[in-house]
């Protein structure tokens, strides 16, 4: 005899709880697609560099100051943002504001230093394809930093206005996931433009 199969689950969470919910999946998808974008940008760099004539690399020995400290600052801001997320998780608003606000300030400093780096370059975007790749890759990254900063600012004011509780805080986790992505992808950009010339690529 046949029998009816009926799903009768016990207690289920209602809505997003903590960091789990569809919103987190959504940002994960966004990050995957954006990571692919940077993958293609770096592919363009390596492909062009591998087939370029000598002299293409305008900076055979890129200056690591202030780029390296700036990189460390950006990566550190990820941990500061995480500290802020933990603050929301524990219901500690002060910690949350320090963490999110701190990450925001570190992000702004990163952007200012990067702007200084751009203005200190002796060549413009049309100098050759190396220059074009450098400015567009770092520029697109900067656009992502900008979006991340807007997200951090929004989260800061929402936390200030007591929007979230330890249970209901999906926006915080999703927003900070994006900030982690912005920081991680910079490591790949930094390695490509500042480290690989020392390893001999396109020199």
């Amino acid at each position: 005899m046949s029998e009816l199969l009926l799903s009768e689950p016990r207690d289920l969470p209602v809505g997003p709880i903590g960091r789990s919910g569809p919103g987190w999946w959504g940002v994960a998808m966004l990050v995957t697609s954006e990571a692919a974008l940077f993958g293609y940008l770096l592919f363009a760099y390596y492909y062009t560099g591998a087939s370029a004539l000598p002299g293409w690399l305008l900076e055979p020995a890129p200056k690591l100051f202030p780029a390296l400290p700036n990189t460390i600052l950006l990566v550190a801001s990820s941990f500061v943002a995480l500290y802020g997320e933990k603050g929301v998780e524990k219901g500690n608003r002060t910690q949350a504001l320090i963490g999110i606000g701190g990450a925001f300030i570190m992000g702004v400093i990163f952007a200012l230093v990067q702007y200084y780096e751009w203005s200190a370059k002796t060549y413009g975007i049309g100098e050759n394809s190396y220059a074009s790749l450098y400015f567009i890759t770092t520029g697109l990254h900067m656009a992502h930093v900008g979006v991340g900063l807007i997200i951090l600012a929004a989260l800061f004011f929402w936390v200030l206005d007591d929007f979230f509780s330890p249970r209901r805080r999906i926006s915080v986790s999703a927003g900070i996931l994006y900030w982690h992505f912005v920081d991680m992808v910079w490591l790949f950009v930094f390695t490509t433009y500042y480290i690989t010339p020392y390893l001999g690529f396109a020199r």
């Binding site: 046949s2 009816l4 697609s33 394809s129």
Partner: protein
Amino acid sequence: MREAAFRTPEIGDDTAVLRARLHALWETEPGLKGWLGTVDHKQIGIRYIITAFIVLALGGIEALVIRLQLAGPNLHLLTPEQYDQFFSMHGATMIFLYASPILSGFSNYLWPLILGGRDMAFPRLNAFSYWVYLGAAIFLYSGFLTGAGPNDGWFNYVPYAEKDFNPGINEDFYSLGLIFLGISTAVGAANFIVTAFKTRAPGMAINRLPILIWGTLTASVANLVVIPAVSLAFFLLWMDRQFGTDFFQTRGGGQPLLWQHLFWLFGHPWVYAIVLPAMGMVSDGLPVFCRRPLVGYAMVALATVSVMILGFGVWVHHMFATGLPGLSLSFFSGASLIITYPSAVTVFAWIATIWLGKPVMKTAFLFFASMILLFVIGGVSGFMTASVPVDWQLTDTYFVVAHIHYVLIGINVFPVIGATYFWFPKMTGRMMDERLGRWNFWTMFIGLNVAFLPMHLAGLLGMPRRVYTYPAHMGWSALNLIETIGAFIFAVGTLLFFVNVWKSWRSGAPAGDNPWGAPSLEWSTTSPPPPYNFAVIPTVASRHPLWEDQLQEGEARSSLRRGMTLDQGKESLLTSPIDAAPERIVKGPDDTIAPFLLTVAMMVLFYGMLLKTWWVIGAGAILCLTALLLWLWPRRELLERAPDDHPESAHV
């Protein structure tokens, strides 16, 4: 009201009282606000389908103009520049604005119904992907209609697309338009992926997914990671043209071939993205008319995925004639030959399904079954050009034009029209006319073959593609005249299809819930389905929930009339990715015009970029930001915010 954080879902029967309550919760508001703000996947899906069919008609008219120009030697219906725009716009229209959106439309409409859910995972994102598609179509056509359409073929090779050779605004329209459209495709893909993994009915484990889901899911994973390649390529081209960068300019150490790599890194997976969902339609639709399950379900599902994985490694076969090293050519040639294996698995599964079944010759069956033949013809000509020496002979000839049309009409248009005959009753509650359907099928089938079989020969005789005319003594004249006649026969067939849709929508015979006796969940609800799809969340016990009594594969029966009611708001169920075990109850968003506003803001931004007018760009950016904040603002009703009286707000 304070929402409990955990709840045991109430189990109930499918009753009229429950239906009335759900209807009030899920119904789209009438009037303009509801029209602009709806997040109902069924309305969005139908909009996608209608828009894509209108676009198909536009692209078809362009094709007919092209065919008139080529009907005889030395004709001057179009100037060379106009011809360039017509064939480029025809390609861009069919490939980007029709072939993918039509499949998104069907998947949008069908997915939650097939999966036993109440909506997509991200209903607002779903509305957004439609509006952006529409916006991008308007953007591209506003260029074409003002004489600034793309004029370098749909794959837009540099250096001809660069400003030195192409000073007009045409290529800027095309570049920005495709970046804009890419946003729609990418967010749509993200939505499909999460929907497939998280919103299935309990019990619909991953080995019970209909093949359409496999097809669209696979295509969506590909789209999510390859769309950025083409968006980037067009962005870099736009930078080259407008800001003097050197990405593709040899004079600045740039690489023209980089364009081809970025384009085809996207382009070849894209070819599979616009056929795999359509092959899924055949894999699900054909067995219904053969009165038996698909032969080799697991093999077909795995073939779908492996075609895509291999599809990432074949892009260079579009570039065999560009002077790449021999090793590279061998590798990509080998990969392109191997990809025929999984494709053949699917073809033999279809043939075996017909062979072992009792075919019922409805119009939908004719379209699905003839697709197998067209797939083989298009596949064999593709297999031939996967061989490097053959490709060197045939590249940029009409042989390749014939190949792409057999593939795209055969594996996209034919399944889509079959799918319309198949699912139209579900969407409208009415049957399509079978008699007209047969006329429709035979005129399209004959027209297609008359138009495109001779093109193989024209290509073998050396006729190059993209030429606006040809001299009389080349021996191509008769073939071209036949092709033009075939194209018009095909157009008549398409017109019959539109007439049938129009007529049947108004006065077709009532369909009932399951007119074909089909096995999947969408046929267990009413035609057309109510706004909430299912009054109770079904529990699935097998791969063919509605065929369990006939097939007798096991003891367990799917529960379709009793299940979780989830009626305390616009609720649906999230399930685990592999086993589809219940995981979470989620609240769906109400109708909102935020996606529409964001699209309008993006149109302002893109027109600003096109005209390089900084204040318009600034205004567009600020509008985008505002619309995004309006959209993402945490809401209590979606449980994204602490409830009013949460204890933490008191202290700290």
